[in-house]
Amino acid sequence: MAEILIHAKELWCSYEEDDRRVPVLRGISLDIARGEYVAILGHNGSGKSTFAKLLNGILEPEAGELVVAGTNLASPDLTDDDIYALRREVGMVFQNPDNQLVATIVEEDVAFGPENLGVPSAEIRRRVDDALATVGMSDYAGHEPHRLSGGQKQRVAIAGLIAMMPSCMIFDESTAMLDPAGRREVIETFEKLNREQGITVLTITHYMNEAARADRVIVIDDGKILADGTPHEIFADPGRLIAAGLDVPQCTSLIHALRAEGVALEGEPITPEECADLLCRALEGKKHG
């Protein structure tokens, strides 16, 4: 087993409303290893974003254990310096591409993080160049961020995190405001970071097809973990997901509907390719059978 990067046990978190405490997370327990590619699903208000915001110290846990990259976030002795150190390890990309960039030139925006860490300027230059190359935005180094497309802005935001050299990146619905092409750019960028640099990726999404690409899917419902497994395991139970306000990929729905009508189909395809394979095999078998 690889080293544990995120450890949560019986994690609780609440917010205050009219002097009442309303629990959002109600006992989350999980471990995520370094290098994993995890999708987190849940309806609006399920607690999934709250969970993400606990991971880099934007919110504080109310009870339970939470250790991220060696930092104990539930410790009463936690200092601001500890949280700043953690945020170098765990970077976060948010939903709106228009309010994450701070500088007027792309490369200055990417340099913003390392500059604040006091990194020597030659090293900053190297990190900025590498980060822009990684997200495929080198040609735009001297451009103004507001003239970029949504997908390009999100990739610049990702480059800004890479320049801090984090070990984990969290994408909180970072593709929600993008068109299909922009969405693809962002997904391919973080999948490459995961594959080639071993960066742990957590992606929070409402797109089932996006979740199907991850190695592991965690479903949060009503502040608790409803399911945790491979995409094939998770999407094998459409009823459970629909009851949680979610959905399954269209191909999965089709296979389950055919099966409900008595067609013998084995396996849990989630991509069109897997689904076509399964249907072709079944039709072939029927011809010979």
Partner: protein, 282 residues
């Protein structure tokens, strides 16, 4: 009831500057009266510019926007009247709620139209029902509502003016699958029950396939494809050429076709695929 048409519309941003961009290039189209029409296209295709022309928020560089055959810019001083007839819901409208209660926010439009108290109350109730908002929430502050509830309230505020043409830019962006279905179904109901024309801008082909009668595909400032849903989805290959996704189930149908499995053309919903495959397995 009103017919909406665009006639040779061109729109140029930053005219005579180094940043001049032609967002719309000689676009002509007619939106069928009483239809739910989807407009789809990637970022920069011109679709958001197009919707801002429909209610006179922007004025075309050249060409005419015709409402019931009349140019909406005929009397520029009366353009505000057009906005009661063509209601526009912008992206992320929940950030535009400003009243102290949800009820007051939904009533704001009808009040400005000078309607009677009784009629305003009726409109608020009706719009609340269309978007599936719990009436208990009407007397709460927008701050007490979730993002999805605020989105519904903002859309209800435009519906309460009962525009003959309701235009929505990405009404379901960022919502979870259940929230998305509730909103899109409510929008379609509004059109069908009031006889109004509804225009929805979206990135999701799956949503278009489920909720729209007609579809207009924009690319590089021009109309790339348009027609009924069946006609547009029959050209799945042409859609992928301009970087648009087809529904996952349509990709499956194309893959099966490549492998020699005979399927009817234009499969874009799970039900259609189920019908086609059911007969093959019989």
């Amino acid at each position: 009831m009103a017919e909406l048409a665009l006639e040779n519309i061109t729109y140029v941003y930053g005219e005579r500057t180094p940043f001049e961009i032609k967002a719309l290039d000689d676009v002509s189209l007619t939106v069928r009266e009483g239809s739910v029409t989807g407009i789809i296209g990637h970022t920069g295709s011109g679709k958001s510019t197009l919707v801002q022309l429909l209610n006179g928020l922007e004025r075309p560089t050249s060409g005419r926007v015709l409402l019931d055959g009349k140019d909406i810019w005929e009397k520029p001083k009366e353009i505000k009247k057009i906005r009661f007839r063509v209601g526009l819901v912008m992206q992320y409208p929940e950030y535009q709620l400003f009243e102290e209660t949800i009820r007051a926010d939904i009533a704001f439009g009808p009040k400005n139209m000078g309607l009677s108290e009784e009629e305003i109350n009726h409109r608020v109730k009706e719009a609340t029902e269309f978007v599936g908002l719990d009436p208990i929430l009407l007397d709460k502050s927008p701050f007490d509502l979730s993002g999805g509830q605020k989105r519904r309230a903002a859309i209800a505020g435009v519906m309460a003016m009962r525009p003959e043409i309701l235009v929505l830019d990405e009404p379901a962006a960022g919502l979870d699958p259940r929230g998305r279905d509730i909103i899109l179904k409510g929008i379609r109901d509004y059109g069908k029950k009031t006889g109004s024309t509804v225009i929805i801008v979206s990135h999701s082909m799956e949503d278009m396939a489920t909720y729209c009668d007609d579809i207009i595909v924009m690319s590089h400032g021009k109309v790339y494809l348009s027609g009924t849903r069946d006609e547009v989805f029959a050209h799945a290959g042409k859609l992928t050429e301009v970087g648009l996704d087809v529904p996952q189930i349509t990709r499956l149908a194309l893959l099966l076709e490549e492998r020699g499995i005979p399927l009817p053309h234009g499969i874009y919903t799970v039900d259609a695929a189920l019908d086609a495959l059911r007969s093959l397995f019989r």
